[in-house]
Symmetry: C2
Subunit: 195 residues, 2 copies
DNA sequence: GTCTATACCCAGATAGAC
DNA sequence: GTCTATCTGGGTATAGAC
């Protein structure tokens, strides 16, 4: 089999197993079984189990930060940027379901892998984009100044990044639909407005 | 040492280790070290590592559901109930930091432990309380009917249960303060209201 | 109730034939 | 590049002395 393809296969199967059982609970032998080779063969592609994890996270962070930069480049209104960042979270979570789940589950373990792989700085770009959108909105009066912007950020971040755990895009509700609904709730609130 | 006290010690140290490293990555020997005994001694108190986890979760779920029933008993307005349920999440997370973190990290593993321990039904009480408060609010017109109540529930649940990861109660901001702030954001939104 | 010692298993990783 | 076989370490759990 084409080496590149096999490598891809190892990454994909690993991502799936890591996501569903956790990294520690997933064995090299299980990964090999899924790929259809013997465990020794995996070591021709990656020097260790940890190296597989690092590679998965690198691909994910690279793509995520790239897409994030596109969003901040087209400087829209604060509300538009929040909706775009919410959609970014939903769609990258879908495209990198394995990596995202690992990221959620194994917080501090992943932090270490990131620092090792020199990706910590890149990983922080998304947070800065959120905080900038929020700060701009407060500055221009679009957002209230009697709400702690830090609290607002943490709440919407958790809500958005956890969302793929209960939402799968369907024909009835796409990721874009959900991003819009989330933005409506956080920006306008659940209580009816007088109009 | 008093057996009951030692048992308590084992539970507390285990909770701390499980929460910070994950269950699979925490070894019986580590727990024993923390308690200050040899690993064999632990087996006089619990038949297995899993039994420790189950016991931790049982204590937590029992207390949580008890406090939840108190809230639903005093039937307040929907907004008050949401604030009370938010505070419930924040304060039980503080009182059971270990158990809560385990609960967050090891979702599907914990589900199995719950079913085994016959606690699944109890664990669902909190969800029902949230959904009832939301449905009542929509029915009486306090909440908008053009927002999917299911989406609203999932968002506020994730936001509230993740909050202890970034918030520790201080003299400047207590859990009650944060619960109020969270409720304000979700109910009234981040955009200023005309008044 | 705790310690010492150890059985037993399964993990990650390696070596060499093909 | 893959398979077979195996090394080595560390995990849970147990047994028996004290």
């Amino acid at each position: 089999m084409d080496p590149h393809e096999r490598r891809r296969q190892i990454l994909d199967r690993s991502a799936h197993l890591f996501a569903s059982k956790g990294i520690a609970a997933t064995t090299i032998r299980e990964i090999a079984d899924e790929v259809g080779v013997y465990s020794g063969a995996l070591y021709h592609y990656f020097p260790s189990k940890e190296a597989i994890v690092t590679e998965l996270i690198r691909e994910y962070i690279d793509d995520l930060s790239g897409r994030c930069r596109e969003i901040t480049a087209q400087s829209q209104t604060p509300v538009d940027r929040i909706e775009a960042l919410a959609l970014l979270a939903l769609s990258t979570s879908e495209d990198y379901r394995g990596a995202t789940t690992i990221w959620q589950r194994e917080g501090e373990y992943m932090r270490d892998r990131l620092v090792e792989a020199d990706l910590a700085e890149t990983a922080d770009e998304v947070e800065r984009a959120w905080r900038a959108a929020i700060a701009d909105g407060v500055a221009e009066g679009t957002f209230r100044d009697d709400i702690d912007p830090d609290v607002f950020y943490q709440l919407i971040r958790d809500a958005v990044w956890q969302a793929p755990r209960w939402h799968r895009p369907t024909s009835e509700r796409s990721n874009a639909d959900l991003a819009r609904e989330i933005t409506r709730i956080f920006v306008d609130g659940f209580r009816p407005r007088a109009e």
